[in-house]
């Protein structure tokens, strides 16, 4: 192992111990997590607190009206309350996202682990399948597929989205499984006759928890963005409200050329923020799973589901201690080692 990397073997001792490790979690992950939690909360209670029925039109309305006391986010051209649509729509989008993420993650993990663990012909075949699906352009295919199923509900849409979204995560999981499979402790488990499924569930999966979590978050993001895009194109279930359908109606009523920003900015911004929170969260999970941050002795860390939960909340609660800054401007790779001394030798 190289010595000159910032964390050389000699100073393995200084890699933070478990308690400190959580505290040195990057701020962005915490922010992402917080925003996401907020959105989920709104999504759950949204329909209950919406001031109006989002589909209720006002026959007296002739144009979209801007924000006012009665309508915090203004109205559409048919007098519907934008805020209510947003609150209800957020819930629908989030639900779709969670459904898709769950199904797709399940698919990714099962296929990825199977391919990585079994190896050989099974791996080749599954890898081929994975790669083909990764490369096929999802959106056009989704449009075609959903076009044939125009009145599909959230579940059906989620299934279709998952069918095209699992491959990316499966590749990542497979790669990690391959690495784990060749590690000694797996060989040991096999030697002692532990059954395959037990090995997979109790030895391999716990070491991939952060990857699986990142996969979930990533697919959630994909689902949100894609469903909004699809709805915007006009391929969606228009019997319920979601962020994408809001934008669709805004677009078809030429909201942006008439300057009715209150109609399209809220759903768009919400989608963007939701997406951003997921991306931030993903970054944080990336660094969590980065082997460089692990214990230098290479001991595998068992992360029980309970442990991960505790970790998740510890993030949000603990204060963030920033990395030490160096004298002067930030250090760049070709800068020499800084020298700080109290007195100088002649």
């Amino acid at each position: 192992m190289s010595v000159a990397v910032a964390m050389p073997a000699e100073t393995a001792a200084i890699i933070p111990r478990r308690g400190q490790f959580l505290r040195s979690m990057p701020t962005k992950a915490k922010i992402g997590g917080a925003i996401l939690a907020l959105f989920v909360l709104i999504a759950i209670i949204g329909p209950a607190i919406a001031p109006y029925d989002p589909s209720a039109t006002n026959p007296n309305a002739f144009a979209a009206a801007g924000p006012s006391a009665a309508h915090l986010f203004g109205t559409t051209t048919t007098g519907q309350d934008v805020l209510s649509q947003l609150l209800v729509g957020l819930g629908s989008s989030v639900l779709l996202g969670v459904l898709t993420a769950t199904i797709a993650t399940f698919l990714s993990v099962s296929i990825g682990v199977t391919a990585g663990f079994l190896g050989g012909v099974a791996d080749e075949g599954l890898s081929l399948l994975m790669n083909v699906f990764v490369v096929l352009p999802a959106l056009p295919l989704l449009i075609v597929l959903l076009g044939y199923l125009p009145h599909s509900g959230d579940l059906a849409t989620a299934i279709v989205l998952s069918a095209l979204g699992w491959s990316w995560g499966a590749r990542v999981i497979r790669a990690q499984t391959l690495t784990l499979r060749s590690r000694d402790f797996i060989a040991a488990a096999r030697e002692t006759g532990e059954r395959t499924w037990r090995i997979v569930v109790f030895e391999i999966l716990p070491n991939e928890v952060s990857l699986i979590a990142a996969n979930f978050v990533g697919t959630f993001l994909y689902a949100i963005l894609t469903s909004v895009a699809l709805a915007f194109i006009g391929v969606a279930n228009f019997s319920t409200w979601n962020l994408g359908t809001m934008l669709f109606w805004a677009q078809s009523a030429n909201a942006f050329s008439i300057g009715a920003w209150w109609w399209y900015v809220p759903p768009g911004l919400t989608a963007a923020l939701l997406g951003m929170s997921l991306v931030l969260l993903n970054f944080g999970l990336d660094e969590l799973g980065n082997p460089r941050l692990r214990d230098a002795s290479g001991r595998r860390r068992r992360r029980s589901p309970a442990g991960l939960w505790r970790a998740a909340f510890a993030w949000l609660a603990a204060p963030h201690r920033p990395h030490p800054r160096w004298t002067g401007r930030a250090w760049r790779p070709t800068d020499p080692t800084p020298v700080e001394r109290a007195e100088r030798l002649a």
Partner: protein
Amino acid sequence: MMRRLGFYVVAAWVALTINFLIPHVLPGTPVEAMLAQHPQLTASAVKALQLQFGIGHQGSLLHQYGVYLDHLFHGNLGVSTSAYPATVASVLNNTMPWTIALVGTATIISFVLGTLLGILAGWRRGGRFDQLLPVFTFLQATPYFFLALIAIQLFANDWRLFPGYGGASLGVNIGFNGPFISSAISHGILPAATIIVTSMAGWMLQMRNVMITTIGEDYVLAAEAKGLSTRRVMFTYAARNAILPNIAGFALAIGFVVAGALVMEIVFSYPGVGYELYNAVTQDDFPVMQGIFLAISACVLLACLLADVIYVLADPRTRRRAAF
């Protein structure tokens, strides 16, 4: 290398087959919907549609598959119902060049810019650049079309700098002439800029991450120890290695780029494949929808293949030489 080529052949075959199977397998029967929308279709057109979608007794599935493939290799993708009697192929012919021009240039520019920025950001980690990171993260997560809507509002409507829709001004003859090209460019700037701004953020962040890892490698330290100039260490030792995973990632990212571009075209009413797709959806023009899927798949596969080739050329470890 042959393996990769074989892979792309398989992927193309899968795309073709899925395209074929969808109408035959899915429960929806769009033909009625199409006929309802377009009662002007002639009898032969209706028969062609039925053939394409397997309505009625056309023979075994395999037989129909054979016919489908045969048509495909002769360039026959069917007839558009909404633009009848135009064929799908002609529709594609009219719209693909616009899309390729826009998406092609925008992608290349954003890749180059994003990579360069990523190199700098990775090199100057902890410096002023890092303060911009949240901005880039936000940009990367923003759905393309949202930015597009804002761009239109600001640049086209409020400030009237660029046209907000269309590919070129009406009344200009299409062709390689001055007025057309300048008009096309001015119409293309907003869509291209939107694509560039959002996808550049993604490339930059990725490049930065890989760059940071690469800077920790021993050979970069060795390059420093050798007393080489900063520029050489940064580019020839660090960046040259860091860019490899990004080229590999290019193939994976193409899917997202395409999706974003499609939506972008709709927002801007840009006469490319995406806009055409939007029209086809609203008019239940399934032959066009499927034709577009095939065309896009072909382009994506080609782009991925190209990226693979470039990767092999760039990373000497992938080339098999006779060992001494």
